[in-house]
Symmetry: C2
Subunit: 179 residues, 2 copies
């Protein structure tokens, strides 16, 4: 099972591909960051994110895309940008019939560290260990994207298979939308 | 000058095309709503919005796209969906090199009614009058989309010309992103 994790953001969008199944050692396939210039206008930034995500999908052909679920507790301006970047990531995946899952930050932290309140350093350390890397991926957005992918592989494998079957069905069916 | 106004939303995305210049009577070219089923998953809804917006761009070839600027004062869940739908609209426009402008709800209300606090009915009545329609467009999202387009035509014509020149330049330049 190959999953692309996306930690959405306008300035830095973390992306990480992990392969494996629950209960076995996982493998990092790729990790990186899609960046857009803060001084570009919003439309162009969204186009740049689209191009970046498309490249990752083309190159790594994930079976699932896991995106961080956006909340609006935080800074209003940041959250709007995050929501917009996440929309582009979801759009790119759904357009190809790849099932998209959303996981909250605390679900991701709990999955990789055992605690929903873990800090960035702890998440980075566990991602490094679980994927047997030499050092924590930088920046933190890249590590978070890998953590999202790991979280997705470990959560509800049965649900994933169901979702994938539905996505495959709707991608090939004449009317592409589904309940 | 032909403007597509977009009142973003996941369930109903209002779209309206208005043609004209400031100081002359305006003409409605088209109005409608892009709908997505509330029970579909988010990725598929965003794809449906993309397809709908693309159809409007193909059919009406606007020179500008005006999108309502999303704030997060309101209901959190609604705002996230609105931000995501607006991202898709901006992405579709920017991908074609069409300049995108954002206007706040109060800017739009002030432009068409003279008051930033006008209610839906007042906006609908003024849209009907300004575009010389027989009745207010329904639903309200469609009227709001027309109001956005009118607002855009009336605000800062000089700025629009500059923006269009920049967009034309960046669309033809080898590196498509700009300051």
């Amino acid at each position: 099972m190959r999953v692309l994790g996306v930690d959405p953001g306008l300035t830095r969008c973390g992306v990480g591909v992990v392969e494996g199944v629950a209960g076995r050692p996982l493998t990092m396939v790729g990790v990186g960051v899609v960046r857009t210039p803060a001084d570009a206008d919003l439309g162009h930034r969204l186009v740049a994110i689209e191009q970046g995500i498309e490249q990752w999908l083309d190159q790594h052909r994930p079976e699932f895309v896991a995106v961080e679920r956006v909340f609006s507790q935080h800074n209003v301006r940041t959250v709007m940008g995050t929501a917009q970047a996440s929309a582009v990531a979801m759009l790119c995946a759904a357009r190809r019939g790849i099932p998209v899952a959303l996981h909250t930050p605390s679900e991701v932290k709990a999955a990789v560290t055992g605690s929903g309140r873990a800090d960035k350093a702890q998440v980075g350390a566990m991602v490094t260990r679980l994927l047997r890397l030499d050092a924590p991926p930088r920046p933190a957005d890249a590590a978070d994207a890998l953590a999202l992918a790991i979280c997705h592989i470990w959560r509800a494998p049965a649900q994933n298979r169901l979702q994938q079957a539905v996505a495959l069905h709707t991608a090939t069916a004449p009317k592409g939308r589904t309940a």
